[in-house]
């Protein structure tokens, strides 16, 4: 990766409820590019975003964002760093008791002392960027799933962050909504010069927009590189994931006792 790293993870180990989620992950995420983090369900992709955002502390290892060692930051410093980050949650996470306009205006009202007319202009510009200027007066309960994520996206770019993290942005979206989100992620990255981290298991969509991709499985990075490099990756596990094969290094069957014991077929062996 030729660009300088905006986010750097080194030997990150993280466990939860006695289960080791990351077993020494090392990863560099370049500045100004879209990096997709992919992997089978339950491998800790969202957890990785939370570790980067400082919501979870690793057991050991280094997590650096924009030169700051995130786990070592004091609360105030961490919150200041987060003002440079935007995060699009899987559910959108809009505040349900306020309108679309107020949701987008929320970070501006909290972190700036801009006059009301300027806040209004910025909010409408951000909503225009996601194509929802006309939905400013709607309540979150009146939005479709795709619209919810677009409003959440407008909110997460309200403060013009340096970094934006997308948590499964394509999950549960119809083809049109997915196409809109793919376009928005690509356009926002190029127009705002954002560093984007995209966590997803939607392989075609993610590879179509990312500059770099990384695949996580069994708590480790099993493959990293440009989309083309990954497509030609020698690892069977990477190929199974990218092509969606039902059986392979990740077995179809969950580990179980001998079928003969369960089905009681005497004299048979499987």
């Amino acid at each position: 990766m030729e660009s300088s790293a905006y986010i750097s993870l080194k030997d990150v180990v993280f466990s939860r409820s006695g289960r080791r989620i990351f077993d020494g992950i090392t990863l560099d995420i370049p500045k100004g590019k879209i990096t997709a983090i992919m992997g089978p369900s339950g491998t800790g992709k969202t957890t990785l975003l939370r570790v980067i955002g400082g919501q979870l502390k690793p057991d050991s290892g280094q997590v650096s964002v924009a030169g700051h060692e995130v786990p070592k930051l004091k609360r105030k410093e961490l919150y200041r760093l987060r003002e440079k980050m935007g995060m699009l949650f899987q559910s959108g996470a809009l505040f349900t008791d306020i309108s679309v306009f107020e949701n987008v205006a929320f970070p501006l009202r909290v972190h700036t002392s801009l006059p009301e007319d300027m806040i209004r202009d910025i909010v409408l510009m951000k909503l225009e960027a996601v194509g929802l200027r006309g939905a400013r007066d709607l309540m979150p309960s009146e939005l479709s799933g795709g619209m919810t994520r677009r409003v959440a996206l407008a909110r997460s770019i309200a403060l013009d962050p340096e970094l934006i993290m997308y948590d499964e942005p394509f999950t549960g979206q119809d083809p049109i909504a997915m196409g809109v989100l793919v376009k928005l992620i690509r356009d926002l990255n190029s127009s705002m010069g954002l560093t984007s981290v995209l966590v997803s298991h939607d392989v075609p969509e993610s590879l179509s927009i990312c500059h770099y991709a990384c695949i996580i499985a069994d708590g480790k990075v099993i493959g990293t590189g440009t989309p083309d490099e990954l497509r030609n990756h020698p690892s069977e596990l990477v190929q199974q994931f990218l092509s969606g094969q039902p059986d392979g290094p990740v077995p179809f069957h969950y580990p179980a006792s001998n079928p003969v014991d369960d089905f009681g077929i005497k004299g048979a062996s499987i």
């Binding site: 939370r50 609360r75 919150y79 935007g86 559910s91 809009l94």
Partner: protein, 259 residues
């Protein structure tokens, strides 16, 4: 052996939960929001936990005052002391029933709503998104709700007592015919501001603080699923009720226990 292990595990869970709740409370009390942003949030929550609880508090206070008058009259008239009914109603309400019943109603109406609201905000990642926007949810969401409960409870308890006394007068004076001068006169001479009214207010302040703390903590600490929120809401009502009744005994013993 399993029983002992289970008991030990449960004890550790309880101690851990108490530790988290105390740490949580410290975080909320230390992180006081700026007045310019905190005050509008506090007003909104005062409306939601205080004003919206008025109806249930007023109606309950009225009926409890009326029942006290009926029961009191029945017993006191046997001894020809029905004139003391005002004194009995006022002392019962101001010292005990006002703070205690209001706290129980508060836990059921406002406390459960606070837990469910915060729990749902957690389940829908609203609290996480706030954190990621650089906004501390303890300051923005929890602190205004805790302070609102703390402020609203004593006011609601006072309203409860006032309405209860009025309900007692309706039944005692207007219906059962107790002399109005005796009703108010006995009340005035026997109810002491510091010993009775102030102690009642102190009780309601303590109950308000405990109920609001339990409610916001249960919401914040709940498992973010529908079953988790349901369980947290139930815990809020049960723990608050038990805490109020237990603390009432302790406070009563301290305040009025100079036997």
């Amino acid at each position: 052996m399993d029983y002992v292990a289970g008991f030990g595990r449960r004890s550790l869970e309880v101690v851990g939960s108490l530790g988290r709740a105390t740490q949580f409370l410290f975080g909320v009390l230390v992180g006081v929001p700026k007045p310019a942003t905190g005050f509008p949030l506090l007003i909104k929550q005062l409306y939601s936990v205080g004003v919206l609880s008025l109806a249930i508090v007023v109606v309950s206070g009225l009926f409890i005052g009326m029942v006290l008058a009926l029961q009191g009259y029945t017993i006191l008239s046997d001894y020809g002391s029905e004139a003391a009914i005002g004194q009995m109603i006022a002392l019962t309400l101001v010292r005990e029933l006002g703070p205690v019943v209001t706290a129980l109603l508060f836990a059921g109406r406002a406390g459960s709503a606070l837990t469910a609201e915060i729990g749902l905000m957690k389940a829908t990642e609203q609290l996480s998104s706030m954190e990621m926007m650089g906004v501390d949810p303890l300051r923005r969401v929890i602190a205004p709700r805790l302070w609102a409960g703390f402020i609203a409870m004593p006011i609601l308890a006072m309203i409860f007592s006032v309405v209860g006394i009025w309900g007692g007068m309706l039944v005692g004076v207007d219906w059962l015919g107790v002399f109005e001068g005796s009703f108010w006169g006995n009340m005035q001479s026997s109810v002491d501001f510091v010993d009775d009214v102030l102690n009642g207010v102190i009780k309601s302040v303590v109950f308000g603080f405990v109920c609001a703390w339990i409610a916001v903590y249960q919401g914040y600490d709940c498992v973010p699923t529908s079953a988790g929120i349901s369980s947290a809401t139930t815990k809020t009502v049960v723990y608050s009720s038990l805490a109020v009744l237990g603390l009432d005994f302790v406070l009563t013993a301290v305040m009025f226990g100079d036997f």
